[in-house]
Structure formats: structure tokens, C-alpha cells
């Protein structure tokens, strides 16, 4: 029985092509690898090889023919000893079958196309009478890592100056002494390399914590964070896990100018497969870092250098772990919702106190996790206050605030009494000069004014 030789597709987009030249004639014996013809695509002239062995029966498309459709027969191939008249058998190939979902048809929209919702539990109750210990964010982060390293032998810390120097910002103080150089590892200055190395270790089941001296330097490792860490579970059909925490200070410090002062929240929060956390208080830093280390997914943990030395009450509990993906209402209010994360939460709380003096009760929400974003908490608040102002240090274009405002406009439009409003850093690289730096960052006064504007009390 003869088979058909079909016009091949020779590029990802080719639909038809020119059969420029036959390199075999009827009656020729061919084997796999024999070049049959030259075919011209829109990009190039390609050689077309035989896969099966046999004898060329009939040539069906003459050389020089243009516009030959992909998959149309161009010749027949005869098996050994077969006469040329034999009827060709169809190639054993079928177009992809339309996949069917097992889910029953839905009335309005097909829910199977919708992203699944995360069900996030509330914060665990802190038992009455628990001692609250004033702790710096710095120590809270260290305690979180130490507790998790004691708990799980697979957890290790790696980064520049994390071991002998005790951390460039002293976050890893004492860890080398307790866990030895096997688990607290000083790396060369080689972000791309050690990030990829840690991702490989995570693929193999270890649970690395990668410290970036600041997130600015993680730009060198962006490909490994996004393309390798975040996407591999999906690309492997769920076979590969990447339980890893990338952490370090994010956003503006003080007077370090453009290359050392940037908020990367929106960059990482836009990536499916990634979780992103940006805590404000020491208690949240501890509880969420512990959760991040235990999480089986890659987590970007965005700290803030200026917060490192600030103290907050932290519950004295053996194992204080907070849920990832849950915002916190830090100050209840009725007149306007202020949404923030990281260091600007503190400024938002100060602004709320000022506003209260003027008779405006602001509800301040600390997002804490930026992906998955807890929009339920935000929307519920907006439905009550009917006004929202977002507040962040990041650039205004495509920011976390942009995302929150757009979601509110889409999902709570009928509840709004004023346009969703953003207060952010200015749309400029961070300047060095003290006066310009101050102008580039959002202030409590900016927020107060924006709130008054949405309350029509300006």
C-alpha cells in the first residue's frame, strides 16, 4: 500500500509554500534522511527530507508550483515491490480533537475558564494573655528564619554577606553560629548565578531562602526568578516544585538615588506562579516569613530597610504563622478606605489620625500580601465607605495602586461616591539631592489631601 507525502509546514506560521524543486524523480528509492525537495516558505528555502523508506511513486505537484497548501499530497511513496497504481493510504494523523471539559455546561459563563479563587483563612487567634514583646522588624525576620531552620533541615539561607558578616543589614545575625556554614552560605557577588543555583536546589526538594542585599540587585537574576522559579510547575504539568523564598529590602532607603531606590512590588505581583508579600509590622514580618518558608511555591518577600529598626509588639508564641493572601484592617473607619502596603502603611495610619481630627474616619488596610491580592477585604471596605485612596511609594504607572483601583472600579462601581484615587511616588527615577528626593516620595500631606478630595472636603 502506498502512502502520501504531504506538503510540510516548515515554520510556526507557514500555511502554504512554493515547491521550488524536486530532488528525486518517480521510481527513485529513498530512505529516511534523503532530501526529497526544496520548499520555499515566506522566510527561506528549506530542504525537505524523507522519513520513511520506499520508492517514489507519482509526483503529484510539479516543481515551480506556488501556493501549495500545507498537508496537501505532493507525491506518493511505494513500499518495496509495489506497483505505482496502488491507492494511497491516508497518513495516520488526525487533527487535534476539540478538548471537552467534563464540567457540566454553565448557564451564563463557563466557570472553567475563570481563575480559581484562593480561600484564605483569617489570622489565627492570639490567645488572651499572650505576652507581646516589642521586637524590631530586623529581629522578627531573623527569628522567623531561625525557627524555620530549626524545624526543617531542608531550609537553608544563601546570599551575599549573610554568614560571616552577619548580614549586610544584620538580618541574619547569629544564624551562622547556630546553623554552621553548611546552612548559612556566603555567596560570591553573583546574583544571576546563585539565584539559579538556589532554584535548582529547590527543584531537587531543598527549601532555600535567598537573600538579595537589596531587591535592586535581583534585576540581575530576573530571568531565573520569573522564567525558572515561577513558571516551571506549570510547564512541567505539576511535576516540579519550587519551594523557595527570595527576600531582601525593597523600595527607597535614603539618599541612595535611582539605582538603589525602587519598589518592585508590581513587577513580581504580575507573575502567575509567584506569591508576593510586603509586610509592614514586625509581627506580620515574622508570621508571614515563616509562612513563606513553608509555602511550596516561590515567594518574593519584599522588606523595607527603614522599617528594619522599627519596633512593634510581637506575640510571644512558639509558632506564630500567618496566612498568605490575607489583608489586615489596621484601623477601622467609615468614611474612606486607604489601601497601602509596607512602609507607607505607617504613614497612612498617621494620616488617618490627622483626618480624624478633621472629622474623617479612614479605614486603613494593609494588603500584606500582594499576590494573591485580598480584594475581598478591600471591596467589602469600599462597599461600606464608598471611597478609596491607594497609597504607595512605587511609580504610578501599572502599580499595585493601579491594580487595586481598577478592580474596585470594575467590581464595586455602583458603590463609589468618588473616583478611585492613587497617591504614589512621582514618575521619575529617584533623585539624589535631598530636596528632590523628598519631592519624589509621597507624603502624609499628599494622602490627607487626596482623602479630603474624595470626601469633597478639600
Amino acid at each position: 500500500m502506498s502512502t502520501e507525502i504531504l506538503m510540510p509546514a516548515l515554520s510556526p506560521t507557514m500555511e502554504e509554500g512554493k515547491l521550488s524543486k524536486w530532488l528525486v524523480k518517480e521510481g527513485d528509492i529513498v530512505k529516511s534522511g534523503t532530501i526529497l525537495a526544496e520548499i520555499e516558505t515566506d522566510k527561506a528555502t528549506m530542504e525537505f527530507e524523507a522519513v520513511d523508506e520506499g520508492k517514489i511513486g507519482q509526483i503529484l505537484v510539479a516543481e515551480g508550483t506556488e501556493g501549495v497548501k500545507v498537508n496537501s499530497p505532493i507525491a506518493t511513496l511505494l513500499a518495496e515491490g509495489e506497483a505505482p497504481g496502488a491507492a494511497p493510504a491516508k497518513k495516520a494523523a488526525s487533527a487535534p480533537k476539540e478538548a471537552k471539559s467534563d464540567a457540566p455546561p454553565k448557564e451564563n459563563k463557563d466557570e472553567s475558564h475563570a481563575a480559581p479563587k484562593f480561600a484564605v483563612p483569617a489570622d489565627p487567634e492570639v490567645p488572651e494573655g499572650t505576652e507581646m514583646v516589642m521586637t524590631t522588624v530586623r529581629d522578627a525576620l531573623r527569628d522567623a528564619m531561625a525557627e524555620e531552620m530549626r524545624r526543617d533541615e531542608l531550609v537553608f539561607l544563601m546570599g551575599e554577606e549573610v554568614a560571616e558578616y552577619q548580614g549586610a543589614y544584620k538580618i541574619s545575625q547569629g544564624l551562622l553560629e547556630e546553623f554552621s556554614a553548611r546552612r548559612v552560605i556566603d555567596t560570591p557577588i553573583t546574583e544571576h548565578g546563585f539565584t539559579g543555583l538556589a532554584v535548582g536546589a529547590a527543584f531537587d526538594g531543598l527549601k532555600p531562602i535567598v537573600e538579595f542585599m537589596t531587591w535592586n540587585f535581583a534585576m540581575q537574576a530576573m530571568d531565573q526568578i520569573i522564567n525558572s522559579a515561577a513558571k516551571t510547575r506549570y510547564m512541567s504539568g505539576g511535576q516540579m516544585s519550587c519551594s523557595i523564598v527570595f527576600r531582601g529590602p525593597n523600595g527607597a532607603a535614603a539618599r541612595v538615588a535611582a539605582q538603589h531606590s525602587q519598589d518592585y512590588a508590581a513587577w513580581y505581583a504580575s507573575v502567575p506562579g509567584m506569591k508576593v508579600i510586603a509586610p509592614y509590622s514586625a509581627a506580620d514580618a515574622k508570621g508571614l516569613l515563616k509562612a513563606a518558608i513553608r509555602d511550596p511555591n516561590p515567594v518574593c518577600f519584599l522588606e523595607n530597610e527603614i522599617l528594619y529598626g522599627k519596633s512593634f509588639p510581637v506575640p510571644k508564641l512558639d509558632d506564630y504563622v500567618l496566612p498568605i493572601g490575607k489583608a489586615r484592617i489596621c484601623r477601622p473607619g467609615t468614611d474612606v478606605t486607604i489601601v497601602s502596603y509596607s512602609i507607607t502603611v505607617g504613614q497612612a495610619l498617621e494620616a488617618a489620625e490627622k483626618l480624624a481630627e478633621e472629622g474623617i474616619e479612614a479605614e486603613v488596610i494593609d494588603l500584606r500580601t500582594l499576590r494573591p491580592l485580598d480584594m475581598d477585604t478591600v471591596l467589602e471596605s469600599v462597599k461600606k465607605t464608598n471611597r478609596i485612596v491607594t497609597f504607595e511609594q512605587a511609580w504610578p504607572v501599572c502599580s499595585i495602586g493601579s491594580e487595586v483601583c481598577s478592580r474596585v472600579a470594575l467590581e464595586a462601581f455602583d458603590y463609589l461616591d468618588a473616583p478611585p484615587t492613587k497617591v504614589s511616588g512621582k514618575d521619575v527615577p529617584m533623585p539624589y539631592a535631598a530636596n528632590l528626593e523628598k519631592l519624589a516620595l509621597p507624603t502624609i500631606l499628599d494622602l490627607v489631601e487626596a482623602v479630603k478630595a474624595v470626601c469633597y472636603k478639600a
Binding site: 494523523a93 472553567s112 560570591p188 548565578g193 522564567n227 512541567s236 504539568g237
Partner: protein, 324 residues
């Protein structure tokens, strides 16, 4: 035949079989691509078969493999089901990644195959991390980290070399020098074209290997693995090899001469030459090799049928496997 010789003869025949399986599989993949059943980018391994088959012939259970996007051969050599590989190429639910990875992104946790990476050079630090994990756990496994002459110019490769030697990680860097980084020859892209020397400023030893000779590859691989397993750190194997096809399916490979390709295909073909050797040594006859070809062809045809008849992934798969 004494038992030892018999087992040796069987293992040599397996090398031949495995190389031929890759060759025939890739030819069939090329055909399915031509029929529009495989989409996107598809990079064939034809010509380079001896490299991965030789090294797998020297590897032990538990050793890890990682490579770039020219990855079909690496999976077949590890004994991953050709059906699952082909079905991934056609983007079907029965593929290794359930159709969500495609030709360039395939993995097998079970067989310790860590991809299948689409970004040139990115697999090198990851492979170094696999070796780090081996050392951390105190296991004797070795990471086989493959990359091409093109990737050898990426900065992260040297970042990895530095850490691997500094920490004496058990990783074999297999540089598959097929002479062309897409369309740019080694001569036009590399200041130093002897890739065995690429680790010299880090103190990593390198060995040049005839990558068209499966036995030479296997022998070099065995020595390199011994070196790594004894705790001496990383080693580079520079494999001199050649790809017969273009960089990907849509590359006509006009940047090299017909004579050059013919020289490799006619005189240095790893499968043809090894087959001849087996006959000369009296281990097989022509008929035996034909028999292997027939068996391999059957497996490949079945894989193609499976890959074209399996259904596409269900729409619910769009949102699965993003988070654990």
C-alpha cells in the same frame, strides 16, 4: 560467550538501539511538524545522539540531567516513554507536561530529568543547584548539566563555574559543541574555541571528547563521574558533535556548506559507524541491525499515533499547576 562479554555485548547493542531510537523519533517529529501537528519551535537532535546516549551509558541511578530546549534525545536516552514525549510535542493531555510545556519545556521528576529549558544558559546554574542539593544531602549523585557552544558564552555559565569549583560541587558540565549557535559559527562567536578550556580560570579541568563516537563519550563520561563522585568538584566535557538539521524546524541552515554537512553525515555518523564497528567485532550482523531498526520504527510509529490520537488538555487545565 562468557557472561561478562555477553553483558558487555548487550550494553553495546543498547547504545546502538538508543541512538537509533532518538534518530527515528526526531525524524518522525520533523514529519509531524511538517504536518502541522507540532507547533512553535522544535529543535531536533539528529547527529548528536552519541553524546547523550554515551553519557547515560555511564550514569548511575539517581544522577540528574538538565539541558536546554534541544531536549527530546535526553529524555529518550533516560528511558522516558517516547509516547509521552511525542504527545507533549503535539500538545496533548497525555504528554509529559500534559501539553502545557511543549518541545522546549519537558520534565520528569521520576527519572530525575529537570528540563527542558527555553532560555539559553539558564539551565547551567540550575544544574549546578542540583549538584548543590546532592552535596547538601550527602548523596553520591552527579548532576549532568548540558549546554551548547552558544550558551557557553552566557555570563551565568561562569558564575556557575565559580561557585561549583569554590564549593566542589558534583556537576559535569557537558558542552555540546555542534559548531553553530543558531546560525553563528563558533569561529564567529567565541574568542577561545576550545571549550574544554572554558573552566581554566576557575581551576575546572576539561576534556575534549569525540562526540560522534558513543564509546569515547561513554568512557569519558565514566571517568568524569568518578572524578565528581570522589568529591573533587566539577569537570567539563567538551563534546565535538554536529547537528544535521537546522537550529529549529524553520532554519534552512544556509550558513554552512553542503560539504561540511556531507562530511559528517557520510563519514562520521555516530549510528552508522557504531553499527559497522559492532559488525566488525562480530557482535551483530546486518540482519540484527535491521531488526533493531524495525523495532525502533514500530515504537516511534506507535508514539506518533498515540501523540496524534490523544485528546488535547481539558480547558480546566488552563488554571491548574500554577500553584501547589
Amino acid at each position: 560467550m562468557p557472561e561478562a562479554a555477553k553483558s558487555n555485548s548487550e550494553s553495546l547493542k543498547k547504545l546502538y538501539h538508543d541512538m537509533l531510537l532518538i534518530r527515528r523519533f526526531e525524524e518522525r517529529a520533523g514529519q509531524l511538524y511538517g504536518m502541522g501537528l507540532i507547533g512553535g519551535f522544535c529543535h531536533l537532535y539528529i547527529g548528536q545522539e552519541a553524546v547523550v546516549v554515551g553519557l547515560m551509558g555511564a550514569a548511575k541511578q539517581g544522577d540528574q540531567q538538565i539541558t536546554a530546549y534541544r531536549d527530546h534525545g535526553h529524555m529518550l536516552a533516560q528511558g522516558i516513554d517516547p509516547k509521552a514525549v511525542m504527545a507533549e510535542l503535539t500538545g496533548r493531555s497525555t504528554g509529559l507536561s500534559r501539553g502545557k510545556g511543549g518541545s522546549m519545556h519537558m520534565f520528569s521528576a521520576e527519572k530525575k530529568f529537570y528540563g527542558g529549558h527555553g532560555i539559553v544558559g539558564a539551565q547551567v546554574p540550575i544544574g549546578t543547584g542540583l549538584a548543590f542539593a546532592n552535596q547538601y544531602r550527602g548523596s553520591k549523585a552527579v548532576s549532568l548539566t548540558y549546554f551548547g557552544d552558544g550558551a557557553a558564552n552566557q555570563g551565568q555559565v561562569y558564575e556557575s563555574f565559580n561557585m561549583a569549583e569554590l564549593w566542589k560541587l558534583p556537576v559535569i558540565y557537558v558542552i555540546e559543541n555542534n559548531h553553530y549557535a543558531m546560525g553563528t559559527s563558533v569561529a564567529r562567536s567565541s574568542a577561545v574555541s576550545d571549550f574544554s578550556k572554558r573552566g581554566s580560570s576557575f581551576g575546572i579541568p576539561g576534556v575534549n571528547v569525540d562526540g560522534m563516537d558513543v564509546e569515547a563519550v561513554q568512557a569519558a563520561g565514566a571517568e568524569a563521574m568518578e572524578y565528581c563522585r570522589s568529591g573533587k568538584g566539577p569537570i567539563i566535557l567538551s563534546m565535538n558533535t554536529y547537528r544535521y538539521r537546522g537550529h529549529s524546524m524553520s532554519d534552512p541552515a544556509k550558513y554552512r556548506s553542503k560539504e561540511e554537512l556531507t562530511e559528517y553525515r557520510e563519514k562520521r555518523d555516530p549510528i552508522e559507524n557504531f553499527g559497522k564497528k559492532l559488525i566488525e567485532r562480530g557482535l551483530v550482523n546486518e540482519q540484527d541491525l535491521k531488526q533493531v531498526d524495525a523495532e525502533v520504527k514500530k515504537v516511534v510509529v506507535q508514539a506518533a499515533e498515540f501523540a496524534t490520537e490523544s485528546p488535547e488538555p481539558g480547558v480546566e487545565e488552563l488554571y491548574t499547576d500554577i500553584y501547589a
